[in-house]
Amino acid sequence: MDKGLALQARDVRMEYVDQATGDRLLAVDRVDIDITEGEFVSIVGPSGCGKSTFLKIVNGLFPATAGTIEIRQSAKGVAHAMVFQDSSLFPWYTIIDNVAYGLICQGVSKKDAQRRAQPLIDLVSLTGFESKFPYQLSGGMQQRANLARALTVDPEILLMDEPFAALDAQTRELMQAELLRIWSEANKTVLFITHQIDEAIYLSDRVLVMSARPGRILADITIDLPRPRQLEIKRTPEFITYADQIWGLIAKQLKPHIHDKAAHPGGEAVA
């Protein structure tokens, strides 16, 4: 793997067999990605395009059918950790036990794990909520805990799978700003999956646009906006230009379906 890279994916391909029909389906195809250390990279794409699948391959939850993924690993910490979509905290554990979970998995004693989880709880501003259960927290706070849980194992690269998708629009904006603050403090490489274009631009150094299934990388767009970024940046002309460019690429992916529906009114769409 090249020097200075945190992740290098080459020609990643993932096929699976549909259990209902027995058909072989291609979820992800010919994906090449390089992520530099400390970089914040997002993948956007139409829903069902295989972006979450790709992330789960990186996380080791799914096997790739072909290709290689290399992730830098330092002596301390782990190579990667995942921030899952909403409500993935264990409802039967308190917040501190949830955040400490990754360390418990590594065989750290409960007491040590809790002690090491505390600074991360403070980092995500959940101080005072350690002994609450997830249901006692708002959705935004639950996602903060979710983020802290991934950071506790000190991963080389943080994998985030649409972590704010289930939040309301206002909370989501605040969480995006919070994530940038935490990212600059924690100094992590991030691979972020979202279907929200403005979220991707606002957060990222680079936005990768993925095609409809099978997922391929269509474009690699460097976001040349100054940091630190305030939420107001979303209303600048530069930001909107990026948004238009990315939306143009994604809309093209959606179009065939629209055409098919229009061409066969009342009939089944032929994708």
């Binding site: 995942m82 993935s88 039967w92 554990y93 979970y101 998995c105 194992v153």
Partner: protein, 278 residues
Amino acid sequence: MSVALASQPLRSRPRNRVTRFLSNERLLYGLAGIVVFLLAWELGSRTGIINEYFFGRPTGIVEAGIREVQTPRFWGDLAASFFEFASGFVLAIILGVPVGLAAGRFRRLQYALDPWLNFFNSLPRIALLPVLVIMFGVFGPWSKIAVVFLGAFFSIVIPTMQGVRTTDKRFVDVARSFRASERLMFRSVVIPSTVPFIITGLRLGVARALIGVVTAELYTQTEGIGVLIRRATENSDANRALFGVLLFTISGIVGVESVRRIEARYQKWRPATSLDRR
């Protein structure tokens, strides 16, 4: 034109103990229901409308109870029934929970056990009673413990197995993602999400185990509260027999309440829903 909406002032929870008791309609009417029924029964037997000889009388049951607890034989019967129930039920938990967990975890084990689970679950277990008496003997507690065990065991195994099989994939993925060992995965994900199912099994098990005690004692006629009931009816002492029945009812209530306590202890993490309001 305007539409008038009926408004309702918000009533705060009364502070005073007495007013709070009086405003708890559920408790109040529940008690009233019991008192009215017992009074009608009592007055009915005293006026001769109800024949006390066959139907008993509430205060008569209390008197019979007071007489009964002064005999040493009663305490022996109570101890015997309790021992049969407790050992059969505890044995059912000790074996049922692990078997259920294992069968839920290992698909092939479940396939192998399925025919037996179906067989014993369809079988009216009471029909096995005479056979169990041959196997384990009339005297001593063993045949009765076996009946109690069979009653509770399957009630515990089946829900436990289903609980493991319905573990939420999201949480399994989280554990995998953090490289949890198989053991930790079981302890941190599978067991906590199966606890509500185990509790359901225990609740069903208490009732089945109790039925087991009563029928086994009535059948074998050695010792226990079941024998107390039988002896009382042979002497046509309705009050004394009903006292025995009351003891079983109380055991049932105590059993279910204990399960509820266990549930509350393990379910702290669950939000209280409106359905939980008591």
